[in-house]
Protein backbone atom coordinates (compact mmCIF):
# COMPACT_ATOMS: atom_id res chain seq x y z
CA UNK A 1 0.00 0.00 0.00
CA UNK A 2 1.33 3.43 -0.88
CA UNK A 3 2.18 5.81 1.91
CA UNK A 4 -0.61 7.85 3.40
CA UNK A 5 -0.62 11.61 3.34
CA UNK A 6 -0.85 13.62 6.53
CA UNK A 7 -4.53 14.33 5.97
CA UNK A 8 -5.31 10.67 5.32
CA UNK A 9 -3.55 9.62 8.48
CA UNK A 10 -5.38 12.24 10.50
CA UNK A 11 -8.67 11.07 9.00
CA UNK A 12 -7.76 7.50 9.89
CA UNK A 13 -7.17 8.41 13.53
CA UNK A 14 -10.46 10.31 13.66
CA UNK A 15 -12.29 7.37 12.09
CA UNK A 16 -10.86 4.88 14.59
CA UNK A 17 -11.68 7.13 17.54
CA UNK A 18 -15.29 7.57 16.41
CA UNK A 19 -16.64 4.54 18.25
CA UNK A 20 -15.52 5.78 21.68
CA UNK A 21 -17.74 7.84 23.99
CA UNK A 22 -16.85 11.52 23.93
CA UNK A 23 -14.70 11.55 27.06
CA UNK A 24 -12.66 8.52 26.05
CA UNK A 25 -12.29 9.96 22.57
CA UNK A 26 -10.79 13.14 23.97
CA UNK A 27 -8.41 11.19 26.16
CA UNK A 28 -7.24 8.73 23.54
CA UNK A 29 -6.82 11.41 20.85
CA UNK A 30 -3.88 12.79 22.86
CA UNK A 31 -2.06 9.48 22.56
CA UNK A 32 -2.33 9.14 18.79
CA UNK A 33 -0.42 11.33 16.41
CA UNK A 34 0.81 11.81 12.89
CA UNK A 35 4.58 12.07 12.77
CA UNK A 36 6.00 15.39 11.70
CA UNK A 37 9.78 15.61 11.67
CA UNK A 38 9.71 19.38 12.02
CA UNK A 39 8.37 19.04 15.59
CA UNK A 40 11.22 19.38 18.07
CA UNK A 41 9.34 18.19 21.09
CA UNK A 42 7.11 15.18 21.18
CA UNK A 43 4.80 16.54 23.84
CA UNK A 44 3.42 18.98 21.30
CA UNK A 45 1.94 16.07 19.38
CA UNK A 46 1.71 13.07 21.70
CA UNK A 47 1.01 12.41 25.37
CA UNK A 48 2.74 9.48 27.03
CA UNK A 49 3.34 7.81 30.39
CA UNK A 50 -0.23 8.34 31.55
CA UNK A 51 -2.49 5.90 33.35
CA UNK A 52 -4.44 3.57 31.08
CA UNK A 53 -8.15 3.97 31.67
CA UNK A 54 -10.36 1.02 32.61
CA UNK A 55 -12.41 -0.18 29.69
CA UNK A 56 -9.72 -0.02 27.05
CA UNK A 57 -7.52 -3.02 26.42
CA UNK A 58 -3.97 -2.05 27.32
CA UNK A 59 -0.93 -4.22 26.72
CA UNK A 60 1.18 -2.84 29.57
CA UNK A 61 2.84 -4.66 32.44
CA UNK A 62 3.37 -3.68 36.08
CA UNK A 63 6.25 -2.39 38.21
CA UNK A 64 7.07 -5.93 39.32
CA UNK A 65 7.41 -6.96 35.67
CA UNK A 66 9.76 -4.03 35.09
CA UNK A 67 11.96 -4.84 38.05
CA UNK A 68 11.99 -8.62 38.34
CA UNK A 69 11.34 -9.46 34.73
CA UNK A 70 13.54 -6.88 33.06
CA UNK A 71 16.27 -5.41 35.22
CA UNK A 72 16.98 -7.88 38.03
CA UNK A 73 15.86 -11.18 36.56
CA UNK A 74 18.76 -11.66 34.10
CA UNK A 75 21.46 -11.20 36.79
CA UNK A 76 22.29 -14.86 36.75
CA UNK A 77 24.24 -15.58 39.92
CA UNK A 78 21.75 -13.94 42.24
CA UNK A 79 18.51 -15.47 43.43
CA UNK A 80 15.48 -13.28 42.90
CA UNK A 81 12.66 -14.09 45.30
CA UNK A 82 9.22 -13.23 44.00
CA UNK A 83 7.95 -12.20 47.41
CA UNK A 84 4.19 -12.67 47.55
CA UNK A 85 1.68 -15.07 45.99
CA UNK A 86 3.01 -17.71 43.66
CA UNK A 87 1.47 -16.59 40.35
CA UNK A 88 3.47 -13.46 39.53
CA UNK A 89 6.74 -15.37 39.52
CA UNK A 90 5.52 -18.60 38.01
CA UNK A 91 3.70 -17.12 35.01
CA UNK A 92 6.62 -14.88 34.12
CA UNK A 93 9.30 -17.50 34.68
CA UNK A 94 11.89 -17.83 31.89
CA UNK A 95 9.57 -16.23 29.34
CA UNK A 96 11.99 -13.54 28.29
CA UNK A 97 14.74 -15.83 27.01
CA UNK A 98 17.63 -14.01 28.66
CA UNK A 99 20.34 -16.49 27.72
CA UNK A 100 23.22 -17.15 30.10
CA UNK A 101 26.07 -19.57 30.62
CA UNK A 102 26.32 -21.56 33.82
CA UNK A 103 24.77 -24.57 35.49
CA UNK A 104 21.21 -23.72 36.42
CA UNK A 105 20.47 -24.52 40.04
CA UNK A 106 24.14 -24.68 40.98
CA UNK A 107 25.84 -21.38 40.24
CA UNK A 108 23.23 -19.67 38.03
CA UNK A 109 19.51 -19.33 38.65
CA UNK A 110 18.09 -17.42 35.67
CA UNK A 111 15.26 -19.73 34.64
CA UNK A 112 14.26 -20.86 38.12
CA UNK A 113 11.36 -19.46 40.08
CA UNK A 114 11.85 -18.65 43.75
CA UNK A 115 8.74 -17.49 45.57
CA UNK A 116 7.53 -17.08 49.11
CA UNK A 117 4.11 -18.43 48.01
CA UNK A 118 1.96 -16.22 50.26
CA UNK A 119 -1.05 -17.84 51.90
CA UNK A 120 -3.91 -16.31 53.84
CA UNK A 121 -2.02 -16.52 57.13
CA UNK A 122 0.92 -14.58 55.68
CA UNK A 123 -1.39 -11.78 54.65
CA UNK A 124 -3.02 -11.73 58.09
CA UNK A 125 0.08 -12.12 60.25
CA UNK A 126 2.68 -10.67 57.88
CA UNK A 127 5.31 -12.46 55.87
CA UNK A 128 8.53 -11.21 57.43
CA UNK A 129 9.25 -14.44 59.29
CA UNK A 130 8.68 -16.42 56.14
CA UNK A 131 11.08 -14.20 54.21
CA UNK A 132 13.79 -14.62 56.85
CA UNK A 133 13.28 -18.39 56.70
CA UNK A 134 13.53 -18.38 52.89
CA UNK A 135 16.78 -16.43 52.97
CA UNK A 136 18.29 -19.04 55.28
CA UNK A 137 16.90 -21.94 53.24
CA UNK A 138 18.40 -20.49 50.05
CA UNK A 139 21.80 -20.30 51.70
CA UNK A 140 21.52 -23.96 52.69
CA UNK A 141 20.21 -25.26 49.38
CA UNK A 142 22.15 -23.07 46.94
CA UNK A 143 25.41 -22.12 48.67
CA UNK A 144 27.01 -20.85 45.43
CA UNK A 145 24.55 -18.00 44.97
CA UNK A 146 26.17 -14.57 45.18
CA UNK A 147 23.25 -12.66 46.60
CA UNK A 148 19.49 -12.38 46.90
CA UNK A 149 17.01 -9.79 45.73
CA UNK A 150 13.54 -9.55 47.22
CA UNK A 151 11.09 -8.53 44.52
CA UNK A 152 7.90 -7.37 46.20
CA UNK A 153 4.54 -8.27 44.74
CA UNK A 154 1.44 -6.16 45.42
CA UNK A 155 0.42 -7.60 48.84
CA UNK A 156 3.77 -6.71 50.45
CA UNK A 157 3.10 -3.03 50.03
CA UNK A 158 -0.55 -3.39 51.02
CA UNK A 159 0.10 -5.16 54.32
CA UNK A 160 3.19 -3.06 55.07
CA UNK A 161 5.83 -5.74 55.61
CA UNK A 162 9.26 -4.39 56.52
CA UNK A 163 11.34 -6.24 53.93
CA UNK A 164 14.22 -3.78 54.35
CA UNK A 165 14.78 -4.82 57.97
CA UNK A 166 14.63 -8.54 57.12
CA UNK A 167 17.02 -8.00 54.20
CA UNK A 168 19.55 -6.11 56.28
CA UNK A 169 19.52 -8.84 58.90
CA UNK A 170 19.81 -11.55 56.24
CA UNK A 171 22.68 -9.74 54.52
CA UNK A 172 24.59 -9.52 57.78
CA UNK A 173 24.05 -13.23 58.52
CA UNK A 174 24.98 -14.40 55.03
CA UNK A 175 27.67 -11.80 54.37
CA UNK A 176 26.15 -11.47 50.90
CA UNK A 177 23.97 -8.71 49.52
CA UNK A 178 20.23 -9.08 50.14
CA UNK A 179 18.46 -6.37 48.20
CA UNK A 180 14.89 -5.38 49.02
CA UNK A 181 13.14 -3.99 45.93
CA UNK A 182 9.91 -2.10 46.50
CA UNK A 183 8.48 -2.87 43.08
CA UNK A 184 4.89 -3.64 44.06
CA UNK A 185 2.80 -3.98 40.94
CA UNK A 186 0.41 -1.17 41.77
CA UNK A 187 3.15 1.46 41.68
CA UNK A 188 3.15 3.74 38.67
CA UNK A 189 1.28 3.46 35.41
CA UNK A 190 3.36 0.76 33.72
CA UNK A 191 6.50 -1.35 34.02
CA UNK A 192 8.50 1.81 33.47
CA UNK A 193 8.43 2.78 37.13
CA UNK A 194 9.61 -0.73 37.98
CA UNK A 195 12.76 -0.09 35.92
CA UNK A 196 13.35 3.11 37.83
CA UNK A 197 12.82 1.45 41.22
CA UNK A 198 15.14 -1.41 40.24
CA UNK A 199 17.84 1.04 39.12
CA UNK A 200 17.54 2.91 42.39
CA UNK A 201 17.81 -0.36 44.33
CA UNK A 202 21.06 -1.17 42.53
CA UNK A 203 22.32 2.31 43.32
CA UNK A 204 21.45 2.09 47.01
CA UNK A 205 22.04 -1.55 47.84
CA UNK A 206 24.69 -2.81 45.40
CA UNK A 207 26.93 0.19 44.68
CA UNK A 208 26.78 0.90 48.42
CA UNK A 209 28.70 -2.32 49.04
CA UNK A 210 31.70 -0.77 47.30
CA UNK A 211 32.74 -3.84 45.38
CA UNK A 212 33.23 -6.08 48.38
CA UNK A 213 31.73 -9.10 46.58
CA UNK A 214 34.40 -8.93 43.88
CA UNK A 215 36.86 -11.68 44.64
CA UNK A 216 39.66 -10.87 42.20
CA UNK A 217 41.62 -7.67 42.09
CA UNK A 218 40.47 -5.39 39.31
CA UNK A 219 43.15 -3.98 37.02
CA UNK A 220 41.70 -1.10 35.04
CA UNK A 221 42.63 -0.41 31.41
CA UNK A 222 41.91 2.74 29.38
CA UNK A 223 39.51 0.75 27.20
CA UNK A 224 37.02 -0.46 29.81
CA UNK A 225 33.36 -0.13 28.86
CA UNK A 226 30.12 -1.64 30.07
CA UNK A 227 27.10 -2.70 28.07
CA UNK A 228 24.07 -1.26 29.82
CA UNK A 229 20.50 -2.18 28.96
CA UNK A 230 21.14 -5.27 26.88
CA UNK A 231 19.21 -8.22 28.24
CA UNK A 232 20.79 -10.88 26.05
CA UNK A 233 17.49 -11.95 24.53
CA UNK A 234 18.32 -14.88 22.31
CA UNK A 235 22.01 -13.97 22.76
CA UNK A 236 21.83 -10.28 21.81
CA UNK A 237 24.46 -9.12 24.26
CA UNK A 238 26.93 -11.71 23.02
CA UNK A 239 26.62 -10.63 19.39
CA UNK A 240 27.09 -7.01 20.52
CA UNK A 241 29.97 -7.78 22.82
CA UNK A 242 32.14 -9.43 20.18
CA UNK A 243 32.00 -6.30 18.02
CA UNK A 244 33.17 -4.11 20.88
CA UNK A 245 35.93 -6.54 21.76
CA UNK A 246 37.05 -6.80 18.14
CA UNK A 247 37.53 -3.05 17.97
CA UNK A 248 39.82 -3.23 20.99
CA UNK A 249 37.57 -2.37 23.92
CA UNK A 250 37.26 -4.45 27.06
CA UNK A 251 33.69 -5.16 28.13
CA UNK A 252 33.74 -5.22 31.91
CA UNK A 253 30.06 -5.63 32.60
CA UNK A 254 26.86 -6.69 30.92
CA UNK A 255 23.74 -5.13 32.38
CA UNK A 256 22.00 -7.31 32.90
CA UNK A 257 21.72 -10.12 30.31
CA UNK A 258 24.20 -12.86 31.24
CA UNK A 259 25.43 -10.47 33.92
CA UNK A 260 26.75 -11.22 37.37
CA UNK A 261 26.79 -9.36 40.63
CA UNK A 262 30.57 -8.86 40.44
CA UNK A 263 30.24 -7.23 37.02
CA UNK A 264 27.69 -4.81 38.36
CA UNK A 265 29.85 -3.88 41.32
CA UNK A 266 32.78 -3.27 38.96
CA UNK A 267 30.85 -0.98 36.64
CA UNK A 268 31.74 2.25 38.49
CA UNK A 269 35.35 1.61 37.39
CA UNK A 270 34.71 1.69 33.62
CA UNK A 271 35.58 4.58 31.32
CA UNK A 272 32.37 4.74 29.32
CA UNK A 273 28.87 3.39 29.77
CA UNK A 274 27.20 2.22 26.58
CA UNK A 275 23.42 2.33 26.82
CA UNK A 276 21.30 0.24 24.52
CA UNK A 277 17.93 0.30 26.27
CA UNK A 278 17.67 3.93 27.27
CA UNK A 279 14.23 3.59 28.81
CA UNK A 280 15.08 0.96 31.39
CA UNK A 281 18.60 1.91 32.43
CA UNK A 282 19.26 5.59 31.78
CA UNK A 283 18.70 6.21 35.50
CA UNK A 284 21.73 4.28 36.64
CA UNK A 285 23.87 5.78 33.88
CA UNK A 286 22.93 9.27 34.99
CA UNK A 287 23.77 8.35 38.54
CA UNK A 288 27.17 6.98 37.55
CA UNK A 289 27.85 10.08 35.49
CA UNK A 290 27.27 12.28 38.49
CA UNK A 291 28.87 10.19 41.19
CA UNK A 292 31.73 8.45 39.37
CA UNK A 293 32.21 10.85 36.45
CA UNK A 294 31.57 8.18 33.81
CA UNK A 295 30.12 9.55 30.59
CA UNK A 296 27.43 7.56 28.81
CA UNK A 297 26.25 7.36 25.23
CA UNK A 298 23.32 5.70 23.59
CA UNK A 299 24.05 3.29 20.78
CA UNK A 300 22.05 1.15 18.39
CA UNK A 301 23.20 -2.25 17.15
CA UNK A 302 20.22 -3.02 14.90
CA UNK A 303 21.12 -3.08 11.20
CA UNK A 304 24.48 -2.32 9.54
CA UNK A 305 23.87 1.42 9.00
CA UNK A 306 23.19 2.06 12.68
CA UNK A 307 25.92 -0.35 13.81
CA UNK A 308 28.53 1.53 11.79
CA UNK A 309 27.24 4.85 13.10
CA UNK A 310 27.30 3.58 16.67
CA UNK A 311 30.75 1.97 16.43
CA UNK A 312 32.17 5.26 15.17
CA UNK A 313 30.39 7.24 17.88
CA UNK A 314 31.73 4.90 20.55
CA UNK A 315 35.25 5.02 19.07
CA UNK A 316 35.14 8.84 19.13
CA UNK A 317 35.40 8.60 22.92
CA UNK A 318 38.74 6.77 22.69
CA UNK A 319 42.14 7.11 21.03
CA UNK A 320 43.17 6.43 17.42
CA UNK A 321 43.79 2.75 18.06
CA UNK A 322 40.12 2.20 18.84
CA UNK A 323 39.03 4.42 15.96
CA UNK A 324 41.10 2.30 13.58
CA UNK A 325 39.65 -0.80 15.26
CA UNK A 326 36.12 0.40 14.61
CA UNK A 327 36.86 0.98 10.92
CA UNK A 328 38.46 -2.46 10.70
CA UNK A 329 35.36 -4.08 12.22
CA UNK A 330 33.04 -2.23 9.86
CA UNK A 331 35.20 -3.20 6.86
CA UNK A 332 35.45 -6.81 8.00
CA UNK A 333 31.71 -7.32 8.13
CA UNK A 334 30.88 -5.30 5.01
CA UNK A 335 31.07 -8.28 2.61
CA UNK A 336 28.76 -10.24 4.92
CA UNK A 337 26.29 -7.36 5.03
CA UNK A 338 26.41 -7.00 1.25
CA UNK A 339 25.64 -10.68 0.84
CA UNK A 340 22.66 -10.49 3.23
CA UNK A 341 21.26 -7.41 1.55
CA UNK A 342 21.76 -8.90 -1.92
CA UNK A 343 19.92 -12.04 -0.87
CA UNK A 344 16.99 -10.58 1.04
CA UNK A 345 16.44 -7.08 -0.27
CA UNK A 346 14.83 -8.24 -3.54
CA UNK A 347 12.37 -10.31 -1.49
CA UNK A 348 11.59 -7.63 1.08
CA UNK A 349 12.04 -4.24 -0.60
CA UNK A 350 9.03 -1.97 -0.43
CA UNK A 351 7.25 -3.99 2.27
CA UNK A 352 5.70 -2.01 5.10
CA UNK A 353 5.85 -2.70 8.82
CA UNK A 354 3.88 -1.58 11.85
CA UNK A 355 5.50 -1.93 15.24
CA UNK A 356 4.16 -1.76 18.74
CA UNK A 357 6.64 -2.79 21.38
CA UNK A 358 8.30 -1.41 24.49
CA UNK A 359 11.60 0.00 25.63
CA UNK A 360 13.97 0.78 22.80
CA UNK A 361 12.65 -1.24 19.88
CA UNK A 362 9.97 1.04 18.45
CA UNK A 363 12.77 3.33 17.27
CA UNK A 364 15.90 1.16 17.29
CA UNK A 365 14.77 -1.54 14.87
CA UNK A 366 13.66 0.98 12.22
CA UNK A 367 17.24 1.04 10.90
CA UNK A 368 17.27 -2.73 10.44
CA UNK A 369 14.12 -2.63 8.34
CA UNK A 370 15.38 0.28 6.27
CA UNK A 371 18.61 -1.56 5.53
CA UNK A 372 16.47 -4.27 3.97
CA UNK A 373 14.53 -1.74 1.91
CA UNK A 374 11.43 -1.97 4.08
CA UNK A 375 9.50 0.93 5.51
CA UNK A 376 8.09 1.37 9.01
CA UNK A 377 4.70 3.05 8.66
CA UNK A 378 3.60 3.05 12.29
CA UNK A 379 5.26 2.70 15.64
CA UNK A 380 4.44 3.09 19.29
CA UNK A 381 5.59 2.43 22.83
CA UNK A 382 3.80 0.51 25.53
CA UNK A 383 5.41 2.55 28.27
CA UNK A 384 7.63 5.18 26.62
CA UNK A 385 8.03 8.66 28.05
CA UNK A 386 8.33 12.02 26.34
CA UNK A 387 12.08 11.63 25.82
CA UNK A 388 11.51 8.37 23.92
CA UNK A 389 9.13 10.05 21.52
CA UNK A 390 11.54 12.99 21.12
CA UNK A 391 14.06 10.48 19.81
CA UNK A 392 11.51 8.60 17.70
CA UNK A 393 10.19 11.55 15.71
CA UNK A 394 13.55 11.92 13.96
CA UNK A 395 13.69 8.23 13.03
CA UNK A 396 10.22 7.97 11.50
CA UNK A 397 9.09 9.28 8.15
CA UNK A 398 6.66 12.16 7.85
CA UNK A 399 2.94 11.36 8.04
CA UNK A 400 3.53 7.94 9.64
CA UNK A 401 1.45 6.87 12.61
CA UNK A 402 2.58 7.21 16.22
CA UNK A 403 0.50 5.55 18.94
CA UNK A 404 1.17 5.53 22.65
CA UNK A 405 -0.23 2.76 24.88
CA UNK A 406 -2.41 1.73 21.96
CA UNK A 407 -5.55 -0.21 22.83
CA UNK A 408 -6.36 -3.59 21.32
CA UNK A 409 -9.19 -2.10 19.32
CA UNK A 410 -7.20 0.82 17.92
CA UNK A 411 -4.28 -1.38 16.91
CA UNK A 412 -6.53 -3.82 15.05
CA UNK A 413 -8.31 -0.99 13.25
CA UNK A 414 -5.05 0.69 12.27
CA UNK A 415 -3.74 -2.55 10.83
CA UNK A 416 -6.99 -3.16 8.93
CA UNK A 417 -6.82 0.30 7.37
CA UNK A 418 -3.08 0.75 6.80
CA UNK A 419 -2.64 -2.88 5.67
CA UNK A 420 1.04 -3.31 6.49
CA UNK A 421 2.92 -6.36 5.15
CA UNK A 422 4.19 -7.17 8.63
CA UNK A 423 3.22 -6.40 12.19
CA UNK A 424 5.78 -6.60 14.99
CA UNK A 425 4.40 -6.72 18.51
CA UNK A 426 3.96 -9.03 21.48
CA UNK A 427 2.56 -12.49 22.08
CA UNK A 428 -0.89 -11.20 23.04
CA UNK A 429 -1.24 -9.57 19.63
CA UNK A 430 0.35 -12.35 17.62
CA UNK A 431 -2.55 -14.71 17.10
CA UNK A 432 -5.11 -11.97 16.53
CA UNK A 433 -3.15 -10.66 13.59
CA UNK A 434 -2.23 -14.05 12.24
CA UNK A 435 -5.92 -14.97 12.22
CA UNK A 436 -6.56 -11.73 10.35
CA UNK A 437 -4.07 -12.98 7.75
CA UNK A 438 -1.33 -10.49 8.54
CA UNK A 439 2.24 -11.79 8.83
CA UNK A 440 3.46 -11.22 12.37
CA UNK A 441 6.72 -11.29 14.32
CA UNK A 442 6.78 -11.34 18.09
CA UNK A 443 9.32 -8.59 18.70
CA UNK A 444 9.65 -8.84 22.48
CA UNK A 445 11.70 -12.02 22.52
CA UNK A 446 12.34 -12.22 18.76
CA UNK A 447 9.68 -14.89 18.24
CA UNK A 448 11.87 -17.61 19.79
CA UNK A 449 14.70 -16.68 17.40
CA UNK A 450 17.56 -14.23 17.76
CA UNK A 451 19.97 -12.67 18.37
CA UNK A 452 19.08 -9.59 16.36
CA UNK A 453 21.85 -7.29 17.60
CA UNK A 454 25.11 -6.85 15.74
CA UNK A 455 26.12 -8.03 12.29
CA UNK A 456 25.45 -11.68 13.07
CA UNK A 457 22.07 -10.69 14.40
CA UNK A 458 21.25 -8.80 11.23
CA UNK A 459 21.65 -11.98 9.19
CA UNK A 460 19.15 -13.75 11.44
CA UNK A 461 16.83 -10.76 11.43
CA UNK A 462 16.77 -10.64 7.62
CA UNK A 463 16.11 -14.39 7.37
CA UNK A 464 13.31 -14.24 9.94
CA UNK A 465 11.55 -11.32 8.28
CA UNK A 466 11.79 -13.06 4.91
CA UNK A 467 10.43 -16.35 6.16
CA UNK A 468 7.54 -14.59 7.87
CA UNK A 469 6.49 -12.24 5.09
CA UNK A 470 7.11 -14.59 2.18
CA UNK A 471 5.72 -17.64 3.90
CA UNK A 472 3.48 -19.56 1.47
CA UNK A 473 0.82 -19.98 4.17
CA UNK A 474 -0.46 -16.43 3.64
CA UNK A 475 -1.69 -17.47 0.17
CA UNK A 476 -3.71 -20.34 1.63
CA UNK A 477 -6.07 -18.26 3.71
CA UNK A 478 -8.95 -18.59 1.26
CA UNK A 479 -10.70 -21.96 1.18
CA UNK A 480 -9.91 -23.77 -2.08
CA UNK A 481 -13.59 -24.16 -3.06
CA UNK A 482 -14.12 -20.40 -2.76
CA UNK A 483 -11.32 -19.57 -5.16
CA UNK A 484 -12.15 -18.13 -8.53
CA UNK A 485 -11.91 -20.49 -11.53
CA UNK A 486 -8.98 -18.53 -13.06
CA UNK A 487 -6.86 -19.45 -10.11
CA UNK A 488 -7.66 -23.09 -10.77
CA UNK A 489 -6.52 -22.78 -14.34
CA UNK A 490 -3.25 -21.28 -13.23
CA UNK A 491 -2.79 -23.97 -10.66
CA UNK A 492 -3.33 -26.63 -13.30
CA UNK A 493 -0.77 -24.95 -15.53
CA UNK A 494 1.78 -24.84 -12.77
CA UNK A 495 1.28 -28.51 -11.90
Amino acid sequence: MSALTKEQTEALIAEVLEVYPEKAQKDRAKHLAVNDQSIEQSKKCITSNRKSLPGVMTIRGCAYAGSKGVVWGPIKDMIHISHGPVGCGQYSRAGRRNYYVGVTGVNTFGTMNFTSDFQEKDIVFGGDKKLAKIINEIEGLFPLHKGISVQSECPIGLIGDDIEAVSKKGAAELNKPVVPVRCEGFRGVSQSLGHHIANDAIRDWVFGRDGKDVKQEFVPTPYDVSIIGDYNIGGDAWSSRILLEEMGLRVVAQWSGDGTLAEIELTPKVKLNLIHCYRSMNYIARHMEEKYNIPWIEYNFFGPTKIAESLRAIAAHFDDKIKAGAEAVIAKYQPMVDAIVAKYQPRLAGKTVMLYVGGLRPRHVIGSYEDLGMEVVGTGYEFGHGDDYDRTIKEMGNATLLYDDVTGFEFEEFVKKVKPDLVGSGIKEKYIFQKMGVPFRQMHSWDYSGPYHGYDGFAIFARDMDMTINNPCWKKLEAPWLKKPEAEVELAKAA
Partner: protein, 74 residues
Protein backbone atom coordinates in the same frame (compact mmCIF):
# COMPACT_ATOMS: atom_id res chain seq x y z
CA UNK B 1 10.99 22.34 45.22
CA UNK B 2 12.31 19.50 43.16
CA UNK B 3 15.60 17.73 42.77
CA UNK B 4 17.03 18.35 39.34
CA UNK B 5 20.23 17.31 37.63
CA UNK B 6 22.16 19.57 35.28
CA UNK B 7 24.62 18.10 32.82
CA UNK B 8 26.45 19.03 29.64
CA UNK B 9 24.85 18.02 26.37
CA UNK B 10 26.63 16.88 23.22
CA UNK B 11 27.08 20.45 21.98
CA UNK B 12 28.34 21.82 25.29
CA UNK B 13 24.97 23.25 26.30
CA UNK B 14 23.38 22.71 29.70
CA UNK B 15 20.80 19.93 29.86
CA UNK B 16 18.12 19.85 32.51
CA UNK B 17 16.83 16.57 33.92
CA UNK B 18 14.02 16.11 36.41
CA UNK B 19 14.27 12.47 37.59
CA UNK B 20 10.88 12.36 39.27
CA UNK B 21 9.10 13.07 36.00
CA UNK B 22 11.70 11.82 33.54
CA UNK B 23 11.75 15.23 31.98
CA UNK B 24 14.86 15.95 29.93
CA UNK B 25 15.31 19.24 28.16
CA UNK B 26 17.97 21.69 27.10
CA UNK B 27 18.42 24.94 29.01
CA UNK B 28 18.12 27.97 26.75
CA UNK B 29 19.16 30.56 29.31
CA UNK B 30 20.62 30.70 32.80
CA UNK B 31 20.55 33.95 34.73
CA UNK B 32 24.05 33.68 36.24
CA UNK B 33 26.75 31.62 34.58
CA UNK B 34 30.11 32.61 36.04
CA UNK B 35 32.40 30.58 38.31
CA UNK B 36 31.52 32.74 41.34
CA UNK B 37 27.81 33.09 40.78
CA UNK B 38 25.88 30.35 39.08
CA UNK B 39 22.19 29.55 38.88
CA UNK B 40 19.27 31.90 39.25
CA UNK B 41 16.38 31.63 36.89
CA UNK B 42 16.76 28.99 34.18
CA UNK B 43 14.59 28.74 31.11
CA UNK B 44 13.96 25.47 29.36
CA UNK B 45 13.48 24.80 25.69
CA UNK B 46 9.90 23.66 26.37
CA UNK B 47 9.01 27.03 27.88
CA UNK B 48 9.28 25.97 31.52
CA UNK B 49 11.23 28.00 34.06
CA UNK B 50 12.97 26.97 37.28
CA UNK B 51 14.92 28.83 39.93
CA UNK B 52 18.20 27.66 41.45
CA UNK B 53 19.53 29.54 44.47
CA UNK B 54 22.56 31.45 43.07
CA UNK B 55 25.76 29.75 44.24
CA UNK B 56 29.34 29.09 43.21
CA UNK B 57 29.50 27.06 40.01
CA UNK B 58 29.82 23.29 40.62
CA UNK B 59 33.27 21.86 40.08
CA UNK B 60 32.03 19.40 37.56
CA UNK B 61 28.82 18.41 35.91
CA UNK B 62 26.44 16.60 36.19
CA UNK B 63 25.31 18.26 39.34
CA UNK B 64 22.18 17.61 41.37
CA UNK B 65 20.54 20.59 42.97
CA UNK B 66 17.23 21.66 44.48
CA UNK B 67 15.24 23.92 42.22
CA UNK B 68 11.98 25.78 42.52
CA UNK B 69 9.47 25.57 39.73
CA UNK B 70 8.46 28.99 38.49
CA UNK B 71 6.54 28.02 35.43
CA UNK B 72 6.09 24.49 34.15
CA UNK B 73 5.09 24.16 30.55
CA UNK B 74 2.75 21.18 30.81
Amino acid sequence: MANIMIRRGGKGEYVFYLPKRDLEDSIVSMEFDTPEKWGGEIKLNNGGAYFIEPQAAPERLPYSVRAKRLDAAE
